[in-house]
Amino acid sequence: MTKQVVPLDRVIIRFAGDSGDGMQLTGDRFTSETASFGNDLSTLPNFPAEIRAPAGTLAGVSSFQLHFASRDIMTPGDAPNVLVAMNPAALKANIDDVPRGGSIIVNTDEFSKRALQKVGYESNPIEDGSLESFRVHPIALTSMTVEALKGFDISKKDAERSKNMFALGLLCWLYNRPTEGTVEFLTQKFGKKPDILAANLAAFKAGHAFGETTEDFAVSYEVKPAPMDAGTYRNITGNTALSYGLVAAGQRSGLPVFLGAYPITPASDILHELSKHKKFGVVTMQAEDEIAGIGAALGASFGGALAVTTTSGPGIALKSETIGLAVSMELPLVIIDIQRGGPSTGLPTKTEQSDLLQAMFGRNGEAPVPVIAPNSPVDCFAAAIEACRIATKYRTPVFLLSDGYLANGSEPWKLPNLDELVDMKIEFATGPNHTLADGTEVFWPFKRDPQTLARPWAIPGTAGLEHRIGGIEKADGSGNISYDPANHDFMVRTRQAKVDGIANDIDPLFVDDPTGDADVLVLGWGSTYGPIGAGCRRVREAGMKVAQAHFRHVNPFPANTEEVLKRYKKVVVPEMNLGQLVMLVRSKYLVDAISYNQVRGLPFKAEELAGVIEDVIKSV
């Protein structure tokens, strides 16, 4: 008898297990199937900083959350409807997030006395009634996998390791996901190891079949595809999108891309990705340290490359002096900071927005640097191109502030029309640009474009333009060393004016205010766009009015910012830090903005933000 299929609007699933259980892979596969089915989705991987924390411990729990729906969604979801817990540690670490009534699939094979004790369970929660308010599905995942793989020519250990595929098969059945993609994926991945491939496929199918036959699951669920714009889609993480943005910028500008980088979580994936694309003229150099990474990039920029350095907060601290040099020499340089929990080593694998003020002010002297912050994993592509555009056009270092949430989170991406990408044709200086009093034609490396205030980019190899520049203050125009007080004052103000002027070359701040008469504006920047949007949606669904505006350009702010802020009675600024944007906004616009903060290493929950927003609305 076929089981009944119950329609749902949206589902949040969290796969949780030991670091070695393959939860990230399982989550990725489920995501791919879900994406190709046409749901809108958003993901949140969450893994420990240790590569292999001791097995079975709370510290070693790795999880992957996926939110998918038949409508557009903005976040990986607040609370999972379904938790798949591969061991007691995974249950214990995640159970508090599951709302009463939620489903929990537990791998009973791992619930030995010892494993329970390891994480401080005195009795088995599956049996002692402590999970009564949940719908618990106790399944012997490991032994059923081993059973299904009897007769395969693989070790018991390999058989056991396939249990994540059994779980994936079961979940695919439960939510009526297509399975072809996973079969194809496994075939590619294990093509060279036919035994392992056969085992994985068999485990996957066994899990699927188990769902169909077991009485434990009376129904399966279906989440219809979400209405999405016509087009070709793929699923993409922020770091991959960002990498592609850099490759695209190289192609659009006609410049070779040079990445100087030192491995650091969560930015290394950009180094890995870009190192695959030499075909596109992308050169990557794994430097001896963070300082050398940016140094090599700056050297490449002097030579006319589209120069990039990638890192996370601690790396920015090391690169600060070189960023100051790039400000002083006025050379294009894209500095990518995938923010993580700080200070110091902090929480390497968790997300935070706490490097904004470091990006703004973390240098000696007056050293303004434009700051761009992508709003979603997909936006990392366009934001990277925008960073390259500003850097090359204004001959300035530019910060691109992503974070761990955007870097590893994924969502469907409607592939862009490449012909519509911004044209970034670069014009290097080719000849003299100044006539001295005696009529001699000379090249002045610091004679600026009156519109953009950018100086000419004259690269070595260009005859007649030989010049020397450095970190010492330069005379306006000639670029020669100058200690003249008035010149220094002028140069400091001019560098600032150049960056400030970019405000006229970027999109105005967009305000989403459906009724047009909200009293409260929620203002954010960077990766909180999704959670804030989802929070606002809840508030509106509850019948209240709220406006949302979100910065993508944090320095300079868009030209209409002040006008927008002054339109609202109250401005709320949620941030994953202790109030960095709010400090900038308050000081610059004298707006009594309300700061709301959370630094748990995790993105905001929509429900939490909705509550905050509603409180402010009620207080007006």
Binding site: A35, K278, M285, G299, A300, G303, R468, G470, I481
Partner: protein, 351 residues
Amino acid sequence: MSDTIKFPSLALVPSADEPQSAKEFKSDQEVRWCPGCGDYAILAAVQGFMPELGLKRENIVWVSGIGCSSRFPYYMNTYGLHTIHGRAPAIATGLSTTRKDLSVWVVTGDGDALSIGGNHLIHAMRRNVNLKILLFNNRIYGLTKGQYSPTSEQGKITKSTPMGSLDYPFNPVSLALGAEATFVARTMDSDRAHLTSVLRAAAEHDGTALVEIYQNCPIFNDGVFDGLKDGEEKEQHIIRLEHGEPIVFGAERENGVIRAADGSIQTAKVADVGLDSVLVHDAHANDPGLAFALSRLSNSENLDQTPMGIFRSVERPTYDTLLRDQVAQAQSSGAPDLAALIAGNDTWTIS
């Protein structure tokens, strides 16, 4: 042109159309070192030597860090970068690897290269980036007014070490050899002919060339190399290294370097040991052992037997070339397709 054959490391750098003069390499900037500073002599030697390379001026870049010597690029009428303390090798590496048509020179000092920039220096050498690094060693911090440096002798009394410095000094040549450098040489500001010959060999070398140049700082460390400059003494103290030649020294070439019974390197009277026992210098030896042993004959404490010249000059593919080869290999399989890259292997269509 013959020049490009002569200098394999510069084969990809365009040659000048006309013969050049030293004057062409002088920039319009006033040179601002202290009177009597050894840097003047080095600058003059470099400017005098540059025309020999026969390269287009616009394809030459001088990169420096911070310190007295790091003002050097301002005085060269080429492209130049005066960067930040210790970072010149890193910055020059990015430039050199992305621009095969440039001849990139780094000027640095003992503080810049060996203290704050030590990491970049050793990694540039092990990578064998096509850089010529001139390390002006005056064994003192000049620009910050006279603190001891990582090459100062132990016990040095300076403003920051009134009771004498405690740290043991680096031997830059030993350090470079230990860091897998493919070309290591030592020369001196006051010996223009020798300096020029070493610069020529460095320019010729394909890969990183580390040239230590003893440089007198008359203001803060005057005379530390006098034993190597004084006419009478110097012949006793300088061991000139010539590839393929027996390592002999002294006014009458009466001393030689030998391998003692215990395997160590020592000096002896040629008359006592016989010329056959004197070691023949082999700068091209793959094993850096002898070069290292030679480098240990002198140190900051004692310059009584100081080898000068090219310790090591061996061939090893450069980082720049290897990197360009990889790019070429990646590009050999047809034109890049951005749309295909972005789409990946797993797309779906909504109509």
